[in-house]
């Protein structure tokens, strides 16, 4: 990826914060934010503008019976026993928050704010695993896997320029050190770009990497988590 200056980033920041920056520029902007605290702060402020704008939309009464239908659906799809656990790893909270719109750049923000992996473990929290997603020798995204309870996986992918997978449904699976794999879910890329997060069982003792698969089962990108005793 070519370098992006702070000046250029600040030009793109409004579109980035409003979530309308095209994928390719977005990927480069995100890479810059990952290493530039000043620009992150700036984009965060602009994100508040977007939030404020949405806050001006008037409330509207949904159709009759909405409340009952929602609660029915929630009670039918309950996947896990009740828990009151609250994760305290800042990165964990923010990385999944990203899946809802803060965008990939917030991952970098969160990781800077997060406690070091070792101190997180001291507090009884497992360390967040992260690795680059690589296709044809190029980094095309990042994956984060949290081996807690509940565990989850989050990733951002930018396959713009690759022939395969640009506008299709992709599948993610985790690899174990014994060579077996576990499917964790699928999502759709738009113009080659996408980010996605979901609850997933992540076993810190055995997870070794991840694969991103095209609809036809071919491997689009792979990731390898660093060895457990060398937190990145």
């Amino acid at each position: 990826m070519s370098a992006m200056t702070c000046d250029r980033l600040k030009e793109l920041a409004p579109e980035l914060a409003l979530g309308v920056l095209p994928a390719q520029e977005r990927a480069r902007a995100v890479a810059h934010l990952d290493r530039c605290a000043g620009c992150r702060e700036y984009v965060e402020q602009l994100t508040l503008v977007g939030d404020g704008l949405l806050g001006l939309l008037p409330g509207t009464e949904p159709p009759v019976g909405f409340e009952t239908r929602v609660v029915d659906r929630l009670s039918r799809s309950r996947p896990a026993p009740p828990r009151r656990l609250r994760l305290r790893v800042a990165a964990a909270a923010a990385a999944v928050a990203c899946a809802f719109g803060f965008g990939g750049w917030a991952v970098g923000t969160a990781l800077d704010d997060a406690p070091a992996p070792l101190s997180a473990q001291d507090q009884g929290h497992p360390a967040l695993l992260q690795a680059a997603l690589v296709a044809n020798g190029h980094e095309v995204g990042r994956i984060f896997a949290y081996p807690g309870s509940p565990g989850w996986v989050y990733m951002s992918v930018d396959l713009v320029g690759l022939e395969k997978g640009a506008g299709e449904k992709v599948h993610c699976r985790l690899e174990r050190s014994d060579g077996t794999t576990v499917p964790v879910g699928s999502f759709t890329l738009k113009g080659g770009y996408g980010y996605w997060g979901a609850p997933a069982p992540v076993d810190a003792a055995t997870v070794s990497g991840a694969q991103l698969l095209a609809a036809d089962g071919s491997v689009l990108a792979t990731a390898h988590f660093p060895p457990r005793d060398a937190p990145s």
Binding site: E11, P14, E15, A17, L18, G19, V20, L21, P22, E41, Q45, L46, L48, V49, G50, D51, G52, L53, L54, G55, L56, L57, P58, G59, T60, E61, P62, P63, F66, E67, R69, V70, V71, R73, L74, S75, S77, R78, P79, P82, R83, R84, L85, R86, L87, A90, A92, A93, A94, V96, A97, F100, G101, F102, P150, W152, K190, P199
Partner: protein, 192 residues
């Protein structure tokens, strides 16, 4: 969930959200009841279609319920969090469905609503009131660009085509409007 005699209707937003994870249906009802107008309001404003808006609102509550444990109050209120989830789902739905993200008459109607200063504004929180008057004070073409990007999720390219203006002009309008609003917010943001 602290339910010792306290009516659920008076629990804080955060307490209700964390109560969702207990699986108590009464808490789920209270949560949905409190936020359904906001969530549905965002969905219908963006997609315009009541049936699709209901789907989006339902999905929003499902996501919130599934991810209640990892909501982080330091990154915004529960209301903002839900609004963001609903907005992203709505934009995705619009992008998947329609070639043009907005009809001109819908844009004008929404712009009027967003910049309107109704009597209820006295009841709204101060931040919303300030943003509302800041949007109202923008030149109309900047306010349109801001609403197209920030609410309808249109790219600068789409805005340029919609308004029949050069791409650079569309970008400038988005930038100028966003920065003006940031200045409005900045005077009160003492987050650091």
């Amino acid at each position: 969930m602290q339910r010792m005699g306290l009516p659920l209707g008076r629990a804080t937003d955060e307490a209700l959200l964390s109560g969702l994870t207990t699986g108590d249906p009464e808490i789920a009802v209270a949560f949905v009841r409190r936020f359904q107008r906001i969530v549905f309001g965002v969905a219908i404003a963006v997609v315009g279609d009541p049936q699709l808006a209901e789907d989006i609102a339902q999905q929003t509550f499902e996501r919130a319920w599934r991810h209640a444990q990892i909501y982080d109050s330091r990154r915004g209120s529960v209301k903002t969090w839900l609004t963001t989830i609903a907005h992203n789902l709505a934009i995705d739905a619009v992008r998947a469905r329609r070639a043009s993200p907005v009809a001109p008459e819908d844009l004008d109607a929404l712009l009027d609503i967003v910049t309107d200063t109704p009597e209820q504004q006295a009841l709204a929180d101060e931040t919303s009131a300030r943003i509302r008057s800041a949007v109202a004070a923008l030149p109309r073409e900047q306010a349109r660009a801001l609403v197209m990007a920030g609410i309808y999720g249109m790219t600068a390219q789409q805005i340029a085509e919609f308004e029949r203006i050069p791409l650079g002009t569309a970008k400038t309008r988005i930038r100028t409007a966003t920065r003006k609003l940031r200045t409005t917010l900045g005077t009160e943001a003492s987050r650091r």
